[in-house]
């Protein structure tokens, strides 16, 4: 069921909120063993919430997400619940407060079903670095769901929940959405409050939704977006009702840019053909397709792997075994306790990134790495600013490949290259949406990325909604 159907159904007393929740829980119980999309499931609490809604239906009728079950990535805090960030170091950490997004979801009647699996501290593109074991792609259980929000994407793709929240630092929403064949949005940096999101790279992190269609995606965004006084970097700009009038979109004359750099070597030819085929269709509908250049794209991954680990090395310093979380106190002194705690508490990839970041920020190297990377980041940002003077949207593949097999990519650099098409938009702080663009010949999902300028979420939703409609029609036309 879509979010719209659930909310309408509960309001009109066709279904009970409790039944909706129970159905989700049943699916999770029966099928998540093979997928491992959840780290924690709130069975009892979720049912109680459902009952509460059913009892107080009259007072709750205007709630936008009335009785909608949602899963939350396990790096977003839900008060009183375990929040692990996929790490041993927070294995038993109980959140002392609600993240702003969680508060907003609860206020609109959403029911949090559980917390989803993820790469440890969101460090990864496959959900294989989780302390709680890898998540598997529901489309093909041998394959990864992408990452780091692999659990969230998989939970929606498997049909456990209609929607989920993830976080995206360099592609962690868009790439798993692409791999699992669902919709996912990384909002403009600052559009959604980060308060209560366990920080990976503060200047890049954004929380965003997963869903099975554009309308649902827009509705979740409507609820979670907006200024938050607890996040100084959140933008004090009004939030449009994204789901309202979403069908009001005229494709005639809309300019779409295809950046050369995203269609060069290394892109799976089936993905490339599929994306270009969709663009052809859009052209037929009246849009104008233009080849564009984003010349600094080739530096994006390098820049990202300096900026993000640098910030991460500082953000992860607080996990020291002193205040909360895993603590190894067998050292002979304080310093050794720190070493032991962090040696045993963090996984390999987390330690790799902490070391990279610590190095990049060290005195004597700071100018050559961090500062230089920030300068190049500005150039990447400018590339997009220039491009959006000419076009309304940019379309690219979300990922150069379809989902790979679990254990297939072991080399860190190859893994880092998975995010080559999602990282530039993260560095530029612009919004990007993964549009599930069908399957390849092996039945594996292909993702199309729509990028827009800052705060153009509304336009992106309308465009995606339109695209959804014409492709549905295409499927129907061609049987």
């Amino acid at each position: 069921m879509s979010i719209k159907e659930i909310v309408e159904g509960i309001k009109n007393k066709k279904i009970k909120a409790k039944e909706v929740v129970e159905e989700c829980l049943k699916e999770i119980r029966e099928r998540d063993k093979g997928v491992n999309s959840f780290i924690t499931v709130f069975e009892e609490d979720a049912i109680k919430e459902g009952e509460l809604i059913d009892r107080n239906l009259e007072d709750l009728k205007d709630k936008k997400l009335l009785g909608v079950p949602i899963s939350i990535k396990d790096n977003i805090l839900v008060k009183g619940k375990r929040t692990t960030a996929g790490s041993k170091i927070l294995e038993n950490y109980i959140a002392t407060y609600d993240a702003t997004v969680v508060k907003r979801l609860k206020e609109e009647g959403a029911i949090i079903i559980g917390k989803t699996n993820m790469d440890e501290f969101a460090f990864g593109s496959s959900t294989e670095t989780s302390y709680f074991g890898p998540t598997r792609n529901p489309v093909d259980i041998e394959r990864v769901p992408g990452g780091s929000s692999g659990g969230s994407a998989a939970s929606v793709s498997a049909g456990f929940v209609p929607c989920s929240l993830g976080s995206d630092t360099g592609g962690s929403i868009r790439q798993p959405a692409s791999f699992c064949g669902v919709f996912g949005l990384k909002p403009t940096y600052g559009r959604v409050s980060r308060y209560g999101l366990i920080a990976f790279a503060s200047s890049l992190d954004q929380i965003g939704p997963f869903a099975k269609n554009t309308f649902d995606l827009a509705l979740i965004m409507e609820v979670i977006a907006g200024y938050d006084e607890y996040d100084s970097t959140s933008l004090n700009e009004e939030v449009p009702e994204y789901s309202k009038d979403i069908e009001n979109f005229d494709i005639k004359g809309v300019k779409i840019g295809l950046p050369d750099e995203y269609f060069e070597l290394g892109v799976d030819s089936e993905i490339k053909d599929r994306i270009l085929g969709i663009c052809k269709k859009l052209e037929e509908e009246g849009s104008i397709i233009e080849r564009i250049k984003l010349p600094h794209t080739k530096y994006a991954v390098s820049v990202y792997y300096i900026v993000a680990p640098s910030e991460a090395s500082s953000n992860l310093a607080r996990y020291d075994g002193v205040k909360y979380g895993y603590s190894n106190r067998n050292g002979k002194d304080l310093i050794e306790d720190y070493f032991l705690t962090r040696r045993d508490g963090f996984g390999e990839e987390a330690k790799r990134r902490i070391i990279i970041g610590t190095f990049a920020l060290s005195s004597g190297y700071y100018d050559a790495y961090y500062l230089k990377a920030q300068k190049v980041r500005t150039l990447i940002k400018r590339d997009f600013e220039e491009a959006f003077k000419k076009v309304d949207f940019i379309i690219t593949p979300t990922s150069p490949q379809v989902p790979f097999k679990i254990g297939e990519i072991l080399d860190p650099i190859s893994m880092y290259m998975q995010d080559v098409f999602t990282i530039p938009a993260s560095l530029a702080g612009i919004p990007g949406l993964n549009f599930p663009a069908g399957r390849n010949k092996d039945g594996l999902p292909i993702g199309l990325q729509i990028l827009g300028k800052k705060l153009s979420e509304r336009e992106i939703f309308c465009f995606s909604f339109f695209l959804e409609k014409i492709l549905e029609k295409e499927v129907m036309d061609h049987g």
Binding site: S202, Y230, A317, Y338, S363, Y370
Partner: protein, 482 residues
Amino acid sequence: MMDWEVVIGLEVHVQLKTKSKMFCSCSTDFDSLPNENICPICTGQPGVLPKINRRAIELALIASKILNCKINRISRFARKNYFYPDLPKNYQISQYEEPIGYDGYLELPSGKRIGIMRVHQEEDTGKLLHYIGSRKLDYSLIDFNRSGIPLLEIVSKPDIRSPEEAVEYLTFLRLNLIYAGISDCDMEKGSLRCDANLSVRRKGEKELGVKVEVKNMNSFKSVKDALSYEARRQIKLLEKGEKIIQETRLWDERGGVTKSMRRKEYAHDYRYFPDPDLVELEFDEEFLNEVFSKIPELPLERRRRYIDELSLSEYEADVFISNKEASDFFEEVIKGENDKSFFKEASSWILNDLLGILNERKLSFNELKLKPEHLKELVKLKISGKITSKIGKEIFPVMLEKGEFPSKLLKELDMEQIQDEDEIRRICSCVLKENQKVVEDYKKGKKQAIGRLVGEVMKKTRGRANPRAVNEILRNLLESSP
């Protein structure tokens, strides 16, 4: 010793006088129980973000302004990364490349200017406890109440030339910060802390010597003692032909020596970088003007006003400015008055009577029952001649104890002045009769004998008569009788 010049720079940390912490809304109350004023933000829970306290920024701007600093129109917070259990995030939010203020000076009362390198804002750490009473624990306790309290770091240039001058600078800096409402600057409560960099060189030399950082000085006296010791130590070494090692030394109050703590070559690499959780601070002209328009009167301005406008002596003015509470009390007493004798009288009551009693009883002004309006009335009664000095001195301790207006107390204690002239005349006649000998002396030309008669009348009225009126009545009586 005579051939050497001591070069000192001071790093002063003061806690800003704000109700809430730097990045969260927890209270800054000093007297709370351990870990009473804490929240997810100031204990570094996962997922929290800092939220800037606007008042703290204003105070930092004011401090920069009164220290004649240039203001960075775009100022930024940076993370200072190091691991320590009292630092919950294992980084301190501080400022690095773009402090609020830089390149200023403080002009001492002597006229010498001490350069100010920078004024920057940061958050305080928690407090580690290793003892309960005198018992050393085999673990440590952490109190996060102090964690996140706004601090200002004021770094002077190496312009100070003696330990005495260091204390002079500190004293005057402290006074200015107190007057501007920036900090309580209470060293005992840790709201003012001071570290020093000290080097020595031969007089006339241009190059600075190797500097040593001196920490753990807990009073102005220990600053003076520690720096004097350290200067002597360095000079002695150099005179023996030895070298000074750049290091941090701790002042050992009991032993009266500085002891090596750590060598600078092991110094932390703090890996400063701009804090991505906080946006840049941008100050426009209008905002700055608004903030600066609220700067209260500073000690030197007040001193000048006391001397030039209120005609107080330099001594009185100096005592007042060094004691802001007394001076503020005085301000309340003289509010709305413009008579110089009133100022003089009010000042005298505070400096000569009140301060002594407060010191004796170890009380502060806010513990006082006596309110400025009570003293104001007393001063008025006194200078209008409605009470004598004697009555004043008698009633003052009662006012202190009861916290009441003198007029009310005088009435209650039957110490009011006798208004009825006939009554005074009657007493005067009586006194003349009883002191025939003095009257005769007077009539023989010993005019000053009248003083004794006045004294007798005052005695009989227990000081309740106006001595001037008594004098006049007696004179009339004496002149009119044969």
